[in-house]
Symmetry: C2
Subunit: 709 residues, 2 copies
């Protein structure tokens, strides 16, 4: 079966509608780069006013071409777009890349044209790329429609929402000596979405790494699903900007107020195994490392150099990027000691003192010893390698070259990542060239070297987890009781569920709740209290009262019938001040819950990522420290486990200051149920279980609040 | 008056004892670099076995020289060192630089030699640099005794504890196009200490920035004092390694257990206005920026480029490095709009779209408009400047060169820092050369560009604060009562003060304490309780019982005479299980304190920095989140203010969740008193006030613990 975007990236023929020879014009640069790129298929240039372009026959219309055309690039004024697309579709185009800008991004008029384009393309199911896109590049098919004369070839494939960034990336790739397989600017992405490109690229044998630059996310929910699947075989590195402008939304729920756009995005990326970077040069460095290095087994790093200072810097960087620098096993240390000068540290970091500068083979021996050790996952050489000849004497150059060859052989044999950090990295030195040729990253910045190694190691850990993970199916199961409840609430033009209704929803899913009874009169209240047992809490139930505490609608620690009666009267009186009598349903009585750790569990439906679930400790942890974690639903067990562990106050749940550990399994149970609830019920927009009091055994959901849309 | 180290850095003559011509030897490389460096004074080469070296007369002994000698560099075997130093002193040497290694760093034998050296030098007060040092460089006097053939000249002066790092720094300076004025490797620093070099360099007109690489800190207390003084006129940038190996110490107090070496160091550096970096290339970039850029007035940054993507990346970086990117004033926006393409953002970041690529003068106009705005402190240009000619057309090069000249004029005129971030930074491009020549940093990495600008801006804010700060004098004032108390405790071979004694100490300094009375019998207890008022707390007082709670030595909420009697009996009985009767002094009664926010205030005498004071919220904030702040005593008001504000839970003190604000002034008062106490009493090693309950008005020091040494 043919893969979806296959004919877009590997077309049998290409037409350019709006081809031009006018120097410097967008159309001219792209036509020229396509012609000069070495593409083997037929190219048809279309321009109604020209008979010849670039020495080739030019067609006045694409319909004049006498063969089927797989891919069409269109660069015409917006008003001609719809007919150009219609013609392309007629000619059998599988993909249509629209360079033309000034469409949906500028207003309603442009959006109308975009709709027309889509409707034309829908006739045959042709893929629409762009509009407002800067083109496509595929090294495997010698296609360059980006208008950039030279692009290094390699195994990194790029998806970007910005044309400028393609210029940055290609320039950095030239500087840093790496290259690209496929590059595409998704433009306004009215047709093909980000996750569809990823679905294609994840199975593309020529793409080792997917590097992406994003300004906004469309289809984030699908992206998480597809990216997580891709992570099993292929790393995705993403530069997503907009952290600084992404504030928290205005929201009715506590969860909503904590759910900053970037906080959710960052959680979603981590969940999907996407490696996030912050700068264009970082994206290139990181993609190059991932395209070249074997994926390690864990995050145990060995550091080595010819100086203690460099080793200390590298060890600090390793800590910063959360890698382990374990003491080597006695066995490995014993092998290492004879290689090193007497008394030099062999435990890790390894210091080969001045010996390697004159006899770099010492490095090979040290690396080999570490490669053979099962407890070492990756190796970082730092210092001046490649420049020993410059510091010591010219004849060292040949020795460094031999060492580079030997290191290349070791990486090939043992398949563990090796990164070389040296201030000579950017000099045209033969030994470093040998390393680069063999796919061993040679990085000038010690910080960046550590960052890249860490990303490899953490990706490895994450990939292993994702491979083993069972992700619940996203199948909506409708429950009649719940749908009936929502119908009722909607019929009353309400968005907020009463607490009694929230409890009903939770109960339908088997979430266990503290006993509670609704009482509409003082007499009912006392009867309920007798059944429930003292001491009790009493809360007003009214669709008009969202902030029960502020309205004087809560009484705690009621310990006898008199107090219950009195509390009922006071609550109803207070409620009467803010709501008409007919909107006061009554009061909800519930036994006081035993003490425990206050938590908050919530959900919000995010515009980018869909249903997102939150966990945190309550009170000041939420209000002052914003110590909460998010994941996109549906939640796998591993997601739940991580979101509990990643809060800073996690240790409080495991027991501190003489407190016993709290029932973390019970929290997990509620999170899993919540995941099911929000997948089943797209009506739910926000949900707060707050506070949830977690005991040594079990938990009590003291209050719940649900908003439907 | 002649400055202290003047003759070390600017000697009238130099002798080399152990000068050598044997290629590659440490002595040969240093002698050669000295001779070839262009030094104008007399150089005397000393070698007992040679009559001539490098074509010059060689002396068999320094004592044969017939003139006074200011500076001597010694490279002889350890056993000859003492006599070489003695001879140098005789010849009037003001400074003696000892390259020889294998001294104190290898063991006792070496330490003995070091002591001999110091005692010889002490005869005339000659300065000893090293031993185990790699030499000195002073561009102002054309002195190069480092053995590195070429070192770029500039205005950065370097102090380092590692010879290797000098190689790194000089290599990075070559790569990045900056240079050094003075460089010295302090070696084992048995004579001249770090802070003495800083004291000299801070007044050195040729040094604009002090860059330092540190592995450990000697004389940290002095360093903070001197560096803070230096910060008023000169930035100090420090690369201090060892974060990863610096754990918390084993300590008896709570404060001690939280006082990790690196945590204290980081706080001390911040307090002293030292800019801390983590990597050698970062040290060079940062020092270069500080040596070239004007110090801004604040941290309000304008970002501009020809693309939204680059601007977004820069804005995210600005947030990461805690700079403001404020919306420009309407006035400035009005000036900006006509410069830009219609509809392009003029509020900040500024996007000049594609215009600047063909007409870079747009950049000059934008920069000028921002320079004129009082509310802009610094400007970051990001994107492809310098490479427009490469992307667009060759004729743009001349326009870029003109723009570079204009930008240089603007910086000169308006004295605001401008940093240019471009991926072309490292290419030999004329326009970029013009910028660099004018001291405008041109940085390839967008992250590093933001980091450097942020350091400038935060240094500026810090410098302003330090200039206005009143730092209490470090004058020990002895109080007879306190000294008597310490004598008594020491006479009893104790290190822990009883709580009654800690209270006495605090009271001597006017720290207000909750009322309390010591009771030795049940009758005394009841009488005391009647005077103090109920409810009460009762605690055992015994030098043998440090953990009162664990020993069953605390009873709370005693509300009548019977409970007091019973509590006394129980406490004495429990105490009797862990301490002999004669060591149980009695019980301390104190009224229960009203509720408030639990805090901890503490002090520890740090091996590197001397007395260090800690503040934090108590309970889980300390135990789980380790949310505490440190400063080196004596504390200025600004230090106290910062250490309270910098804890993550600060907002809790200002009032959250309906709680009223707590009495922060009362906390400040106790911190100030504590600073006075620990400066006056070097006997105190550790001190915990824990818990301190801070009320809306005032605070209660519920327990205190003091260890003397």
């Amino acid at each position: 079966m043919e893969r979806s975007l296959e004919k877009v990236f590997n077309p049998g023929s290409i037409a350019v509608i709006g081809a031009s020879e006018v120097p410097g014009k967008a159309a001219e640069r792209r036509t020229r780069s396509l012609i000069q790129g070495g593409y083997k298929g037929n190219i048809y240039l279309v321009n109604p006013k020209r008979d010849k372009l670039f020495g080739m026959k030019a067609y006045h219309s694409i319909t004049e071409v006498d063969k089927e055309i797989d891919l069409v690039m269109i660069i015409v004024a917006p008003r001609f777009l719809a007919s150009a697309v219609a013609d392309s579709v007629k000619m059998g185009a599988k993909g249509i890349i629209i360079i033309t800008a000034g469409l949906g991004e500028t207003g309603e008029e442009g959006k109308k044209i975009e709709a027309e384009i889509l409707s034309e393309a829908a006739k045959t199911g042709a893929y629409v790329i762009g509009p407002n896109c800067s083109g496509m590049f595929n090294a495997s098919a010698d296609i360059n429609m980006l208008g950039i004369p030279t692009i290094n070839k390699g195994s990194i494939s790029v998806l970007t929402q910005s044309g400028n960034v393609i210029d940055s990336l290609t320039h950095f790739a030239t500087i840093k000596g790496c290259g690209f397989n496929k590059m595409i600017n998704v433009g306004n992405a009215v047709g093909v979405q980000l996750h569809e490109y990823i679905t294609y690229l994840k199975d593309d044998p020529d793409t080792k790494v997917i590097a992406t630059y994003l300004e906004g996310i469309k289809g984030g929910h699908e992206l998480v699903r597809v990216a997580r699947d891709a992570a099993k075989t292929k790393p995705i590195i993403a530069l997503k900007v907009g952290k600084s402008s992404a504030g928290a939304r205005a929201a009715a729920s506590h969860t909503g107020s904590l759910a900053g756009d970037d906080i959710i995005l960052d959680a979603a990326f981590r969940q999907a195994g996407i490696v996030r970077v912050s700068n264009a040069d970082e994206l290139v460095d990181m993609a190059a490392v991932f395209s070249n290095c074997p994926i390690p087994k864990g995050n145990r790093l060995v550091i080595m150099s010819e100086g203690g200072g460099d080793n200390s810097i590298a060890a600090d960087n390793a800590e910063k990027y959360e890698m382990q620098v374990p003491i080597l096993s006695e066995e490995t240390q014993e092998k290492m000691i004879p290689i090193l000068l007497a008394g030099m540290p062999a435990h890790n970091p390894i210091d080969y003192g001045g010996t390697a500068e004159e006899n770099p083979d010492v490095i090979t021996q040290c690396v080999k010893t570490c490669m053979e050790d099962d407890q070492v996952d990756g190796i970082l050489i730092t210092g001046f390698f490649g420049g020993f000849f410059d510091i010591i004497a010219p004849h060292i150059a040949a020795l460094e070259e031999q060492t580079a060859k030997d290191l290349a052989d070791l990486v090939k044999k043992y398949k563990k990542p090796l990164i070389v950090n040296t201030s000579y990295a950017r000099d045209p030195i033969k030994s470093l060239g040998i390393l680069k040729e063999a796919g061993i990253p040679v990085i000038e910045s010690s910080d960046r070297a550590a960052q890249c190694m860490s990303a490899l190691m953490h990706f490895a850990v994450n990939q292993k987890k994702i491979k083993e993970m069972h992700i619940p199916e996203e199948k909506v199961v409708e429950r009649a009781g719940v749908k009936e409840l929502f119908r009722k609430v909607t019929a009353e033009s309400r968005h907020n569920l009463l607490e009694t209704e929230s409890r009903e929803l939770l109960s339908e899913y088997g979430v266990s709740l503290p006993a509670a009874e609704l009482a509409k009169t003082p007499v009912e209240a006392v009867e309920a209290a007798d059944r429930l047992g003292y001491p009790l809490a009493m809360k007003v139930v009214s669709p008009d009262i969202l902030h029960k505490s502020d309205a004087g609608g809560i009484k705690l620690n009621l310990s006898n019938a008199n107090q219950v009666r009195a509390a009922f009267e006071v609550i109803m009186k207070n409620a009467g001040k803010v709501a008409p009598r007919e909107n006061i349903v009554g009061t909800l009585l519930s036994p006081m819950v035993p003490p425990g750790q206050e938590c908050i569990i919530g959900m919000i439906r995010d515009a980018q990522f869909g249903p997102v679930i939150m966990f945190g400790l309550g009170g000041i942890f939420v209000e002052v420290l914003k110590d909460v974690s998010f994941r996109v639903a549906p939640l796998a067990d591993e997601d739940i486990d991580e979101m509990i562990r990643e809060i800073k106050g996690y240790k409080i749940l495991t027991g501190v200051r003489g407190e016993k550990a709290k029932d973390i399994e019970a929290i997990k149970g509620v999170l899993a149920k919540l995941s099911e609830i929000v997948i089943d019920n797209p009506e739910i927009n926000e949900l707060d279980l707050n506070p949830v009091i977690v005991h040594e055994k079990g938990l009590s959901i003291v209050d719940s609040r649900v908003l439907i849309g």
